[in-house]
Amino acid sequence: MDKPEVATELYVLLSAVLFTLGSMGVLLRRNAILIFMSIELMLNSANLALVAFARQWNQMDAHLMVFFVMTVAAAEVAVGLALIVTIYRTRQSTDVDDLHALQG
């Protein structure tokens, strides 16, 4: 293998940026669906880091992990959206700030 042109660190840096953007989205948006999408963004950034390192270490195990992460993310999105739909049915709103019934 020859030395890759783009250093692995750059990919990881990019992954970090995307991750922070995703976390900002989780914290700042009030729409539940948008929060979900931000979570997906975070997952994606993690996947990117994984693949970068797979190339670095020349092992395909990380690819497998990415594969699994995607699968689980899909399942999670399905269930989460089902929850959101259910909540929306009762409350007619997707604002997470409306969901504070468990307030202590």
Partner: protein
């Protein structure tokens, strides 16, 4: 012949079995059977006493100590050095007592079968009588003070039981006193007053034990010879009781043994003169200790033998049946004190102070009781005070050191006083019969008299006879002219009365004059004060004795019958008159036969001089025979005859019907008579100064101290409320405020903390997400810490 000594245990056992048989089978046996058993037991005991006397004579009056069967080692605690065996003492003194007790006792038993005829509790009476006999014999046959004490207490118990025999009849023969004692009260009074005396005796016993280390009169080794080489005596079959051993004898001589009997030891120590008895840190002279002991014994004697100050129970004891009065309160029990003092003559002889006190007590009792007897109406009361007075004579004799005289007077007095009592019983019986007889026949004369009686009587305050007219068969004012109706009774009574008055040749003459003679000796010959006092007082007492004796005889037997009852009084049955006759004969003879004094013509030669005294001297160390004092004898007899003459002149006249006042009540002697009739207000004084204060003190202790103070104040307030107050303090301020608040504050603190912590649960997802992010940041920093450190150059 020695073997018969062991029979002494029979003298105790046989009355015991007689009692048991009557106790369990009395009802079945009926009057005849029960009476027969009781009389047989008593007679058997008398026979045994005779045998013992014969044995003694045979053995030259050598005393014997016989171990009791089965209970020989009675109290034995070797580790404490206490050994009080139950041993019988057969010597002349105890045999004398035994003979008197069983002899007179048997006659009275026979008399009682007649007297108590028809009583519903007939068997019980004889149970008590046999029980008494047993205890009295234990008293006189014991070899140590504790056995004597067993008998002492026992006769006290029997006295109580017998005085109160008619406990359910409210005072058949009521005693006198402002309160109005009934029979059971009289019994209780006797017991309680005796108890005081018993206390004294007990203290004396304790001191004796402390001083001498033993209570035995004499130790076996002091018995000079009583060797017994043979096997133990064969089994005695006694009245159907099988397998019972007769007493075992002390069989060996312990030579060189240190411990002596108390009397021997006392004599030894008196000889030494400087023995000291230690009581812890105090050492007392032996003389002082003996004085103390004898004073305590004296206290006991005053209780049992009815001396001043404890004589007050004896008049009340007349509430019991007449045989009881005769046996216990004339002949036997009351003489226990005399016996005890004579037995302890080694103590009394050497204690001058006590002897003086004893004399004083004796003579004052003799005088006071004689005085009280002058004004009594009740026939038995006269005899009761007479008994007290004669006991005073005996005690005075003991005090004067005339132990033999005291015992002699004891024996003679037993005879004639029992005779007088039994005679009075006969009279009373006749009066009752006559009363019933007249009442039934509805004599008009009687009714008139009875109504008059009814007003005149002041003795039946406390009890009511609904249909009865309160006729007192014992009141001498209701009697009169009985000598025609009851000839034998009259004759025997006359004999007894003359003996009591001390008229030659009846028994009383010899014994009373011996006492007075000894008093003379002590006074004039030895120059002691007590002798002088004794002479004067005893002569006065003798005078009074004669006076009231003749007064009684006049009132009862002479003159005309004053009531219908007296008119119809029949002579008593042979069962009652036979003992009277026997006793009368004995009274006549016994004086000069057994103890004719030295120097008296004819009688001494006929019957032997001072035989009784000599007899006693074998046991009583300090007994001595005095010579006959002609001067005092004539003086005393003269005084007695003079008093009889005076009484005769006063009372021989026909008395008014109904007789309300004593002839002496009118005139100048009225105050004296009143005083005598009121018994010197002795009982009243006791009540006022002793009983009521005692009761008041008891009430005070019970109500004020025990109830108010201890119960109400101490228990309820201090302990009860104090405890409650403490509990309140603990529960309210401490438990509620402190403990509860503490725990509550714990709970409220948790609540407060929880409510504060609760604020973190905002319920908003975004805050949770933020905290998540912060956690992530933290984790990143921790993981990258080394790198960061390098980067930042830390």
């Amino acid at each position: 012949m020695e073997g018969f000594y062991s029979a002494v245990s029979l003298v105790v056992i046989v009355p015991l079995f007689g009692m048991l048989i009557n106790l369990f089978f009395g009802k079945k046996l009926g009057e005849k059977g029960a009476g027969f058993i009781a009389v047989s037991a008593s007679a058997f005991a008398f026979v045994v006493a005779l045998i013992l006397w014969a044995t003694l004579v045979d053995q030259h009056y050598e005393p014997a100590i016989v171990n009791a069967p089965l209970i020989h080692s009675w109290i034995s605690i070797p580790s404490a050095g206490i050994d009080i065996p139950w041993q019988f003492r057969v010597d002349t003194l105890s045999v004398t007592m035994m003979l008197v007790v069983t002899g007179v006792g048997t006659l009275i038993h026979i008399y009682a079968t007649g007297y108590m005829h028809g009583d519903e509790r007939f068997p019980r009476f004889f149970v008590y009588l046999n029980l008494f006999l047993m205890f009295m014999l234990i008293l006189v046959t014991g070899n140590n003070l504790l056995v004597m004490f067993v008998g002492w207490e026992g006769v006290g118990l029997c006295s109580f039981l017998l005085i109160g025999f008619w406990f359910d009849k409210p005072g058949k023969h009521p005693t006198e006193g402002t309160v109005g004692w009934s029979n059971s009260n009289a019994a209780r009074k006797a017991f309680i007053v005796n108890r005081i005396g018993d206390f004294g005796l007990l203290m004396g016993i304790f001191l004796t034990f402390w001083t001498f280390g033993t209570l035995d009169y004499y130790k076996p080794h002091e018995v000079i010879h009583l060797e017994h080489d043979e096997a133990p005596p064969p089994v005695f079959a006694v009245e159907g009781i099988e397998g019972e051993h007769a007493g075992e004898e002390a069989t060996h001589v312990e030579s060189g043994s240190e411990i002596h009997g108390i009397y021997t030891q006392a004599e030894l120590w008196f000889e030494e003169g400087n023995h000291k008895v230690s009581f812890g840190s105090i050492d007392l002279d032996f003389d002082a200790v003996i004085t103390l002991i004898t004073l305590f014994f004296l206290l006991g004697a005053t209780g049992k033998s009815a001396q001043i100050p404890l004589f007050v129970w004896l008049p009340d004891a007349m509430a019991g049946p007449t045989p009881v009065s005769a046996l216990i309160h004339a002949a036997t029990m009351v003489t226990a004190g005399i016996y005890m003092m004579v037995r302890s003559n080694s103590f009394f002889y050497n204690s001058d102070l006590t002897s003086f006190v004893v004399t004083i007590i004796g003579i004052s009792t003799a005088f006071a009781a004689g005085f009280m007897a002058l004004g009594q109406w009740d026939i038995k009361k006269v005899l009761a005070y007479s008994t007290v007075s004669q006991l005073g004579f005996m005690v005075a004799a003991v005090g004067l050191g005339a132990y033999a005289a005291a015992m002699f007077h004891l024996v003679t007095h037993a005879f004639f006083k029992a005779l007088l009592f039994l005679g009075s019983g006969s009279v009373i019986h006749a009066m009752e019969h006559g009363h019933h007889h007249a009442h039934e026949h509805g004599h008009g004369h009687d009714e008139h008299d009875e109504h008059a009686e009814h007003e005149a009587h002041d003795e039946h305050e406390t009890h009511t006879h609904h249909d009865d007219h309160e006729f007192d068969p014992q009141d001498m004012r209701n009697m009169g002219g009985l000598r025609h109706k009851m000839g034998l009774t009259y004759l025997t009574y006359l004999v007894g009365g003359l003996a009591l008055a001390g008229i030659f040749p009846f028994a009383g003459f010899w014994s009373k004059d011996e006492i007075i003679a000894d008093a003379f000796t002590v006074g004039f010959d030895e120059g002691e004060l007590k002798g002088y006092l004794a002479i004067a007082v005893l002569l006065a007492a003798a005078a009074m004795t004669a006076f009231y004796t003749w007064r009684q005889i006049c009132l009862v037997f002479f003159g005309k019958p004053r009531t219908a009852a007296a008119e119809h009084a029949p002579e008593s049955s042979a069962l009652m008159t036979t003992p009277l006759a026997i006793l009368a004969i004995g009274t006549f003879l016994i004086g000069f036969i057994i103890n004719a004094p030295k120097g008296f013509p004819l009688f001494g030669w006929l019957f032997g001089e001072h035989r009784f005294t000599l007899f006693l001297e074998e046991s009583v160390i300090h007994a001595h025979a005095g010579s006959f004092n002609w001067f005092m004898a004539i003086l005393a007899t003269g005084i007695a005859l003079a008093m009889i003459g005076i009484a005769d002149s006063i009372y021989r006249k026909p008395m008014p019907i109904p007789m309300e006042k004593d002839p002496l009540e009118t005139g100048q002697y009225q105050p004296l008579f009143a005083l005598s009739n009121a018994k010197l207000y002795w009982d009243e004084a006791y009540f006022k100064y002793i009983v009521y204060p005692f009761q008041g003190a008891a009430r005070f202790l019970a109500n004020t101290i025990d109830w108010d103070f201890w119960h109400n104040f101490f228990h309820d307030r201090i302990i009860g409320q104090g405890f409650q107050g403490a509990a309140d303090v603990i529960s309210q301020p401490i438990d509620r405020q402190v403990v509860d608040k503490g725990f509550m504050s714990l709970a409220t603190g948790v609540l407060a903390a929880a409510s504060r912590l609760r604020k973190t649960q905002t319920g908003y997802v975004r805050t949770y997400a933020l905290s998540l992010m912060m956690g992530v940041l933290l984790v990143i920093v921790i993981i990258l810490l080394p790198t960061l450190r390098d980067l930042l150059g830390i």
